[in-house]
Point group: C2
Chain length 357, copies 2
C-alpha cells in the first residue's frame, strides 16, 4: 500500500495563506491547526482552550449548574450595534442569566461556508472575544466545520454555556402568581428593527430625522445579579424576549402557568424611531426581537427594590412596570389601550422577521 | 398602533401540518412550539428538557467537569451503520470520554434548511434519542433555527456535552512518555469508507464479494471506563481518531509532546473491504475517519491489563498494540513496514473526504 502525497488529499486543493476559507480548514489537519493557532487561540486563548483536548476539563463549581445552547444564523453577519460575534456570546450568556446563573464557560462551534473571507472570520472572532471578555466568560472549547459553497451562508455559530446558579436563586415560570408585576428592562424592538434596517436597505433615520436604529445586543447577567441581590426571593421569572419578541415570551409564560398577563399599552417602552419604523412596515414592536432586554415577573412587594436596582444599572436605566399577572383570562396576554379598550396579544405563528439571531 | 393579523407575520406563509420545515419553525412562535411539543419532547423528553426554560438547571456533580462541543454536517444524512443523529450523540459522548469523563448531559441545536421533510427530521431525532438512551445521557436543552432553501443542507446539528471526570483519572497528551505503547481499539477507516461508499455510489461490496462497509459509529465511554478501572494511572492519553484519521491524531500528539510515535505496519488493523476500497481510491486508511474507535497511549506495565479489559468489551474485541512512543524522531509519526523500511506519516493538510462528520 503506497502513501499518496498528502498535499493532494484536500479537495479542493487549498493554497496556504489563501485569503478564503477552503474545505481543508474543516478537515482536522494542518489547515485546521493553522486556523486554531493563528486565529482562535490568539483571540480566545486561555489555559483550558490552549490544551486543545477533545474537551475542556473544569473544576466543578458547588451548587447547581445552568446549561444552555443557541445557534446563530443572523443575516447580515454585521449590523448596526453588533455582529453575529457579539450575538453568539451575549445570547448564550443571557440564556444562562435568565435562570439566575452567573455564566462561567462557553463553547464556540463554527460552520463556515467555503469562500468566506478569512478577514471576515477574523473580525467576527475578535468581536466574540471582546464580548466574552466584557461578560467575564471564557471560551474553553470549540469546533470548526466547513461546508461547500452554496450549502451555508458565510458563518453559522453555535455557543453553549455553563453557569452556576447561586444558592437561593429560584427562577421558574411556575413561580408566577396573580398580583405579580411584569417589569421590562428597557426599550423593545431595537434589535429586530436594526437588522431590518440594514437587510431591507431602509433608511429609517432619514424618515424620522434621528440616529440609525442600533441593536441592543448586550450581556444581562450583571443586571440580573443586581436584581436578585436587591430582593432575595422576590424575582419569580426572568426571560429575554428574543425571537417572537415580548409577545411570544409572555404568551409562553401565560400558557405554561395558566395565568393571564395584562399589559398597559402606555407603559410599553418603544423608541420613537423604532415605533416609526414598525408603523412603516406594519409590525407590532411587541413581536420584534430584542437581544439586550429582559422581562421579569416580580412579587409586588419586591417591585420597588428590583426597579431601583435596575435603574442604577446601565442596562436597566429605562426599566419600568409594563403590566401585571392576573388569574384570568387564563393563558392569555392582553393589552389595555389608552382608550380603555382591551385587545388580545396572540401567540405569533412564526417570526415576522426570519434569521434575526 | 394597530396589530396586524399574526397569521400573516410568517414569511413564507406556512401551512399548519405542512410536511416540510418552513421558516416559521425557527421563529420562536407557535410553529416552533409545535415542533418542540410534537417532535422533540416525545423523543428526548426528561424532567430538565420538559421545563423548556432558556437553560437547564442541573445539580453540579462533585469533582471536575468535562465540557465539549461538536457540529455535525455529514453528507448524506443517513449512511450504512448510522445517521447524523447517532453521530451527533456519539461524537460528543466520545469527546467527553477521551478526557476520561462519564458523560451526563447533552445539548442539541439544529440548523434546518427550509424544505426539509418533517419525516426526515423525525427519523433523525428518533435516532438521536435512541443513541442518547443507549449511552445513558440526557438531552437537557436545545435550540432550533431555520435557514432559507439554498442556505443549508437539510440539517446541521450541534451537540455540546457535560461529563464528570472521576477522581484519579488524569488523561493528557502531556503525560505520554518514551516507552509507552500505542493501543487501538479496533479496525480503522470504517466510518469514512462507509460515507464514501454511499456518497460516491461505489459498490465496494460487489468488488470484494463481501458485506457493505458500515460506519463504526458508537459511544466509547464504557470502554474507557473499563480501561481506566483496569489500570489506574496507566492510561496516559486517549483520543478518538475522527477527521484526518489516526494519522492526524497521532501527529497532533507527537507535535504537542515533541516525542516520536513509531507504528508497526503489520499491526495497523484494517478490514479487507476497507483496505480494498482505500486502494481503489488511492487513500491510506490511516487518514480515514473513525467514529467508534479510540487510540490510547498507555504505560508499558499497564499494557496487558488495559488490552485485557478492552478485549472483553464489545467495542474493544479487536484491540491491539499498534506502535510505541519513542524519544525520537521528535514530533514525527513513522511506520515500520514489513520489509523493514521506515516511512513518515505526514500531517494531513486538510481532509481527504470532506463532510465526513
Amino acid at each position: 500500500m503506497s502513501l499518496p502525497n498528502p498535499a493532494s488529499f484536500v479537495c479542493p486543493l487549498p493554497l496556504r495563506d489563501y485569503p478564503h476559507i477552503v474545505m481543508g480548514h474543516g478537515g482536522g489537519g494542518q489547515l485546521s491547526a493553522e486556523l486554531i493557532e493563528h486565529l482562535f487561540l490568539p483571540a480566545f486563548g486561555n489555559t483550558q482552550l490552549n490544551r486543545l483536548g477533545d474537551s475542556a476539563v473544569l473544576a466543578s463549581p458547588p451548587g447547581r449548574l445552568a446549561f444552555s445552547t443557541d445557534s446563530f444564523v443572523v443575516r447580515p453577519l454585521f449590523f448596526p450595534g453588533g455582529s453575529i460575534g457579539e450575538l453568539a456570546v451575549n445570547g448564550t450568556v443571557n440564556d444562562l442569566a435568565m435562570s439566575g446563573a452567573r455564566p462561567l464557560w462557553l463553547s464556540a462551534a463554527f460552520v463556515l461556508e467555503e469562500g468566506l473571507l478569512l478577514a471576515t472570520l477574523g473580525a467576527i472572532v475578535e468581536r466574540m472575544a471582546a464580548a466574552a471578555r466584557a461578560a467575564g466568560v471564557a471560551i474553553v472549547t470549540g469546533d470548526t466545520k466547513v461546508v461547500e459553497r452554496g450549502h451555508g451562508d458565510g458563518c453559522y455559530i453555535n455557543t453553549s454555556g455553563i453557569g452556576v446558579v447561586p444558592d437561593g436563586a429560584e427562577i421558574d415560570s411556575a413561580l408566577a402568581r396573580p398580583g405579580d408585576v411584569v417589569l421590562v428592562s428597557g426599550y423593545l424592538g431595537d434589535h429586530g428593527m436594526a437588522i431590518m434596517s440594514v437587510r431591507e436597505g431602509l433608511a429609517f433615520e432619514s424618515a424620522t430625522g434621528s440616529a440609525p436604529i442600533e441593536s441592543d445586543c448586550a450581556a444581562l447577567h450583571t443586571l440580573v445579579a443586581a436584581m436578585l441581590a436587591a430582593a432575595p426571593g422576590g424575582v419569580h421569572v426572568l426571560r429575554d424576549p428574543t425571537r417572537g419578541g415580548a409577545a411570544a415570551t409572555l404568551n409562553e409564560i401565560a400558557a405554561s402557568t395558566a395565568l393571564g398577563i395584562a399589559l398597559n399599552d402606555d407603559a410599553i417602552p418603544v423608541r420613537p424611531t423604532v415605533r416609526a419604523a414598525c408603523e412603516m412596515l406594519g409590525l407590532d414592536p411587541l413581536y420584534v426581537a430584542n437581544e439586550g432586554k429582559l422581562l421579569a415577573i416580580v412579587a409586588p412587594e419586591a417591585e420597588q427594590a428590583v426597579l431601583g436596582a435596575m435603574r442604577v444599572h446601565p442596562l436597566g436605566r429605562d426599566a419600568r412596570r409594563m403590566g401585571t399577572v392576573q388569574a384570568a383570562p387564563q393563558g392569555m396576554v392582553t393589552v389595555r389601550t389608552g382608550l380603555g379598550a382591551t385587545r388580545i396579544v396572540p401567540v405569533p405563528l412564526g417570526e415576522q422577521l426570519p434569521r434575526i439571531c
